[in-house]
């Protein structure tokens, strides 16, 4: 069994890596296995976690007994969940061509809820918090900052300001405004460059793990 598992792991790993050379039957096979298994796995997880644990148990709770065999209070069925179930069933109406349009109702519900929820959440945590965090004394509280930090503070302020100018839609990027927008782009580019450079490292360690599996666990060439 252990031999089989190792060879299987090696086979699948090399199959994916073979894609780097070009598309080939080996990759297609691993891809087919991956898609089938992962889709099945998610059906199972969704079924037990969402449908069974959240919906079914929510509507029909287990009678929970304590050690003495008495019913523990507080496991009232949550009939609200039935609304969710009904919306889910409406979704399935798509399968019937005649009433298929009714599946737009649950979609409309989801879109409304998502839009409303994120509108306010993004507003609070992306707009308000960020503005608040940007407002800091340039020289540090009571002049405590070093020159290094002061330069940093000024850069943050200027960068945020000009970055926002870049995103302005209703004004052509021309003249002084265009110049500021250009500075904004520079800041965005530094941001992108920095996060790219930053991520290179962590990506390499992923590969190291796989190579270690191939030559270490599988073939025993490194110990």
């Amino acid at each position: 069994m252990e031999h089989f598992a190792l060879w299987l792991g090696g086979f699948l790993t090399l199959g994916i890596f073979s894609f780097l050379y070009k598309d080939n039957p080996w990759y297609k096979l691993t891809e087919a296995i991956y898609v089938g298994i992962s889709a099945g796995y998610f059906v199972v997880v969704y079924f037990w976690d969402n449908f069974y644990s959240k919906f079914w148990i929510g509507v029909f709770p287990h009678k929970r007994l304590n050690e003495a065999g008495e019913l523990i209070a507080g496991v009232e069925p949550d009939y609200w969940l039935i609304v969710g179930g009904v919306l889910g069933l409406l979704m399935l109406m798509r399968l019937l061509p005649k009433v298929g349009w009714i599946s737009r109702w649950p979609l409309a519900f989801i879109v409304g809820a998502t839009a409303g929820l994120w509108l306010i959440n993004y507003f609070a945590s992306f707009v308000m918090v960020q503005i608040q965090n940007t407002v800091t004394p340039l020289f540090g509280a009571d002049y405590s900052a070093s020159l290094f930090v002061i330069v940093g503070n000024i850069v943050v302020a200027v960068g945020t300001f000009t970055g926002l100018i870049y995103f302005f839609f209703s004004k052509e990027h021309r003249g002084a405004f265009g110049g500021a927008a250009r500075v904004g782009i520079f800041f965005l580019m530094i941001t992108f460059g920095a996060s790219f450079g930053y991520t290179v490292m962590s990506r390499m360690s992923l590969l190291i793990g796989r190579i270690d599996f191939l030559f270490g666990d599988w073939l025993g060439m490194i110990k």
Partner: protein
């Protein structure tokens, strides 16, 4: 500063031995033989004379938590004077609650040094009173009981009033400009390069006779970026229907599949070509992130799309998809609001919609005045943000440096407006 947990030990081993033999051992034996005399922790109950008694906590206050649905009571107190890091007698606290003057029930146990607890297991319409016991190694000292209190429900969270007002201002600005535009006022919107390229990218696919691939990210319909991707899909599908090009949209969520089909179908109907639409344009693959990527990579190298749209929420897979798309020579237009993934799109795609541009794209592509109006409304938000940053930084810096009161007041005011607690 964290400190090592200190235990007070008798200084001499012999003392320990004596203590053990004469006090603790009988206690343990006693505790084991007489079931029911042990409390929950298994600490033996000892005769009064041996107790190490800690001073009780003082100034215990129970108050209703403001601005909630009546589901929390806040307790605070001054810790026992014997609660000290070194050689303190207190080893913890127990919080007891009396519901409608019933029997006291322990609701939680806290570490030494605690001086507050939020009781979240309360219900409206019941009266609660509390007391807190200071625990020593073998005794409990209860505090005075608080007066009974009932958790209150509030209908509006005044703490968030500033957020509400700011949201109304911004929402109002968006709606105002939508209305202005609807009434026929011409509003200027600058060109967005990535979106100007959409027509050309679709045209290219038509010329080459190759399909267009649309990837709506890997999150479900409960993410705004997916919604943004779908609104853009509506516009793009309309153009594609006009050009009579093939579109293919593999998705990783069943709901996105359903919504994607609705969207494309409607666009084809609007273009007057409902017959050209087929459900096979949108295919579900798998919910799993990298399984989906494996399949999409395969589709890319096999179908060799001329144009690839990568719009929505992307995670680590962004670069795998974009690089594969690039290797098959596709024109790629990408967009996401996840800052961490933007650099990869910038590096590997021809055009990238950065954050806000993704959400503006559908309005921009529609070309309708009222949609454009909403973009203008966004700019009001940016102007407010910029003004707040500018004024805020200036006043806080000057106010800090020269101690000018009215300038400091401005800072305080601004901070209050933009605080979210």
């Amino acid at each position: 500063m964290p400190s090592h947990p200190t235990t007070s030990r008798p200084s001499h081993p012999a003392m320990l031995l004596i203590l053990f033999t004469f006090f603790l051992l009988p206690c343990i034996v006693l505790a084991q033989t007489e079931v029911g005399q042990t409390n929950i922790e298994g600490t033996p109950i000892v005769p009064d004379s041996e107790q190490i008694v800690a001073a009780p906590v003082t100034s215990l206050i129970a108050a209703d938590h403001k601005y909630d649905d009546g589901e929390m009571i806040e307790l605070s107190w001054v810790p026992s004077i014997d609660d000290q890091l070194v050689d303190g007698k207190v080893i913890g606290y127990k919080v007891y609650r009396l519901e409608d003057d019933g029997e006291p029930q322990m609701i939680t146990e806290l570490a030494p040094g605690s001086n507050a607890y939020n009781d979240q297991s309360v219900e409206r319409g019941k009266l609660y009173s509390y007391f807190v016991s200071a625990l020593s190694s073998n005794a409990e000292t209860p505090s005075v009981r608080t007066a009974p209190i009932e958790p209150q429900r509030e209908w509006l969270n005044y703490e968030l009033l500033n957020v509400l007002i700011m949201a109304l201002v911004l929402g109002g600005a968006v709606i105002y400009f939508i209305e202005t535009a609807r009434r026929g006022k011409k509003l200027f919107v600058r060109k967005i390069a990535g979106l100007e390229a959409v027509d050309e990218a679709i045209g290219r696919a038509t010329e080459m006779g190759r399909p267009i691939l649309f990837i709506p990210g890997i999150l479900d319909m409960d993410d705004v970026q997916t919604l943004a991707a779908l609104t853009i899909l509506g516009r793009i599908a309309r153009i594609i229907a006009d050009y009579d090009t093939k579109i293919f949209m593999p998705v990783s969520r069943s709901l996105v599949m359903t919504a994607g089909r609705e969207t494309i179908k409607a666009s084809y109907q609007a273009a007057g070509r409902p017959d050209a639409y087929s459900d096979d344009m949108v295919t579900y693959i798998t919910d799993e992130q990298f399984g989906y990527v494996a399949a999409v990579d395969g589709i890319m190298v096999r179908e060799r799309p001329a144009t690839v749209f990568l719009l929505g929420a992307f995670f680590a897979e962004s670069l795998i998809l974009a690089e594969t798309g690039n290797s098959v020579g596709a024109i790629q237009i990408a967009g996401t609001a996840r800052p961490a993934q933007l650099p990869f799109f910038i590096a590997a795609c021809d055009f990238t919609l950065i954050g806000e541009e993704l959400f503006a794209a559908s309005a921009y592509l529609s070309g309708e005045p009222k949609q454009m109006g909403s973009l203008k409304g966004q700019d009001v938000g940016k102007a407010i943000a910029m003004a707040a940053i500018l004024i805020g930084i200036l006043t806080v810096t000057i106010g800090d440096s020269w101690d000018v009161e009215w300038i400091q007041n401005i800072t305080t005011g601004l901070t209050e407006i933009f605080s979210t607690k």
